[in-house]
């Protein structure tokens, strides 16, 4: 995917929700897109699978290549044939993602029915197998339940079952655990990881949860205000982040080894996309801000092989080294997941 830009026509004018974003992903890899709410993570994933509401959304530039084809140039019918079958998506809120008037089994089965033209009977049987695969007990009887008869975790599993039903090549998980309880979150993430290994999926994990990104991803992109501010291998990002925003995110994450120590908070709020400053979008909140940051919009610079950062002082920031004490990353999880209340 290269130079993708998406704009929205809103009350406050044209908003660049995604600005010149480029990422690439190899087969079997997991890419985590990390950022606060409103940073353009979800819009990016919607653009890939083709569910952006147009209008008011508008893809104003860029290409999305999937298996050598530019998705943005495909005819709608071909695009639909890829969506679901080869690229699948799991959305944030399973409860509203499921249609409450149809049984869970129907909603999984219609994948086979629609994409493969199977009979309803055969589709339903396949749905039972899938529910089994996502570890829903008594799959054979629960297949006829309505979504509201499922718990939140089970709903998300059902959504996952539908997503993996046709063994897609790429799975986009848009904050798959935000709406779930902490304990259930872990189970769902474990399930996703297992499925990824078993089916050989590539995965884009959209999340605001750094710990989740660390555990799951091979590579990490950090988004801020519609742009990718830092990109690199997992170990590069976590080992020695080269953008002040990434550092800020780490500092704002609760850690096991710090006990009750006070959390750092990134001052300010996410910027209004309709009125971005002329210079670096993060400058107003950056603790290392220099005069030039306000004037000049930083371009991505390469710091190491595969590690880029869009900060004028990337190498200086990079030189700070690891934000975590030695061993913290390996011995413990970066921190128990806490919902920061998005």
């Amino acid at each position: 995917m290269s130079n993708l830009s998406v704009e929205f026509d809103t009350q406050e004018g044209i908003v660049k929700a995604v600005d010149d974003v480029s990422v690439s992903l190899n087969r079997g890899e997991v890419l985590a897109i990390v950022g606060e709410s409103g940073s353009g993570k979800s819009v990016t994933s919607q653009a890939i699978i083709g569910t952006l509401p147009i209008p008011p959304g508008q893809i104003t530039g860029g290409q999305i290549y999937f298996d050598g084809q530019n998705l943005l140039e495909l005819a709608p019918a071909k695009r639909r044939a890829i969506a679901g079958a080869r690229i699948a998506m799991i959305s944030q809120d399973a409860q509203s993602a499921l249609d409450s008037r149809f049984t869970v089994g129907y909603q999984i089965g219609e994948m086979f029915r629609h994409h493969r033209g199977w009979s309803w009977k055969k589709s339903r049987a396949a749905a039972v197998d899938l529910l089994d695969k996502v570890r829903i007990p008594n799959a054979a009887s629960r297949v006829n339940d309505y979504p509201h008869q499922f718990s939140g975790g089970m709903q998300q599993r059902a959504v996952i079952a539908a997503a993996i039903s046709l063994e897609p090549d790429l799975l986009i998980a848009d904050e798959p655990t935000t709406a779930l309880d902490v304990t259930v979150q872990a189970e769902v993430m474990r399930l996703l990881q297992d499925l990824k290994t078993e089916l050989g999926l590539s995965m884009i994990l959209v999340t605001h949860d750094l710990a989740q990104a660390y555990e799951t991803a091979d590579r990490v992109s950090v988004m801020y205000a519609g742009r990718i501010v830092e990109h690199g291998d997992r170990d590069q990002i976590f080992g020695s982040p080269a953008h002040p925003y990434t550092r800020g995110l780490f500092a704002a994450t609760p850690r096991m080894d710090q006990g009750d120590a006070e959390l750092m908070v990134i001052p300010g709020t996410t910027p209004n996309l309709a009125a971005l400053p002329q210079g670096c979008a993060f400058a107003p909140r950056c603790s290392n801000r220099q005069d030039s940051c306000v004037r000049e919009r930083p371009q991505a610079v390469t710091i190491a092989e595969g590690h880029t950062s869009a900060c004028l002082f990337a190498s200086d920031v990079h030189a700070f080294g690891s934000p975590f004490p030695k061993g913290a990353l390996d011995s413990e999880r970066v921190g128990e997941r806490h919902d920061h209340g998005t």
Binding site: R80, R101, E110, H115
Partner: protein, 304 residues
Amino acid sequence: MTWYLLSRAQQSVLVILAAFVLVFVIGSVIGDPVDLMLPPEASDAVRDQLRRSLGFDQPLHIQFLNFIIRVANGFGESIWQSTPALPLVLSRLPATLYLAGCALLIAVPASLALGGWAALRPSSMADRVINIFSLGGVSIVDFWLGLMLVLIFSVQLGWLPTGGYGGGSVAYIILPAVTMAYRSIGRLAQFTRSALLDEYAKPYVMTLRAKGMSERRIFLHTIKNAAIPIVTLSGDEMASLINGAIVVESVFSWPGIGSLLLQAIGQRDLFLIEAAVFVMTVIIILVNLLIDITYAYLDPKVRL
């Protein structure tokens, strides 16, 4: 579910009781029953005699008891027809229900088609035309529309009869049913459109798109979701169709309760009027109850 049905049925019974009291209050308290039954030129002696013979000179609570007894005996004797009023009204009921039912059978599919069409192409030319057409439905005087249809299809073209029951044959019911259906189409089509647009805004539609489903299949989902409010409103429409039958029936000389009510008003036949009003009210309350039961059945969340 059972609990819901019971409480709903109890509510209906309450409304029916209220209707009962209201009929008494309007007929005997707001209006002077003797004035309502006799022509204005009747002499005072005649008035007094009627007042005494029907017990309207008694205190109100006694009158109310008399009223209950009278209702139990079929709302008293119709002055005009000299038979108990209630059976007379009930004998006209099938014709009214038949007409309202046919109107609904026209209105619902037409509204679904128009509303669905408009919702799939919001802001298009078709959407605007449908919008104005359906606003026309709630802006038109139904008896005038009926007269216009008679003028065109009966007087000018001679295709359809001007009125009457015709033993319930299709030719006779087309004009009155279409006349009544148009107003319902106006309301239902607009409602269908907005209900569908609401559904299209919900996240599950995005999931369906992400699953690569065709627009046809997505429409299947949205229409099933929108069905519940639409069914509910269709029930409301049945009620307002029965309501609207009063005027339209008289335009087409359709032998239903509506035209009976009008004749009764013309004859100053108070007891017959009371019976007609009460029966129609009860029918509408029952229709509403039926709709709520259907609603409960359709919605898997309430069904539990």
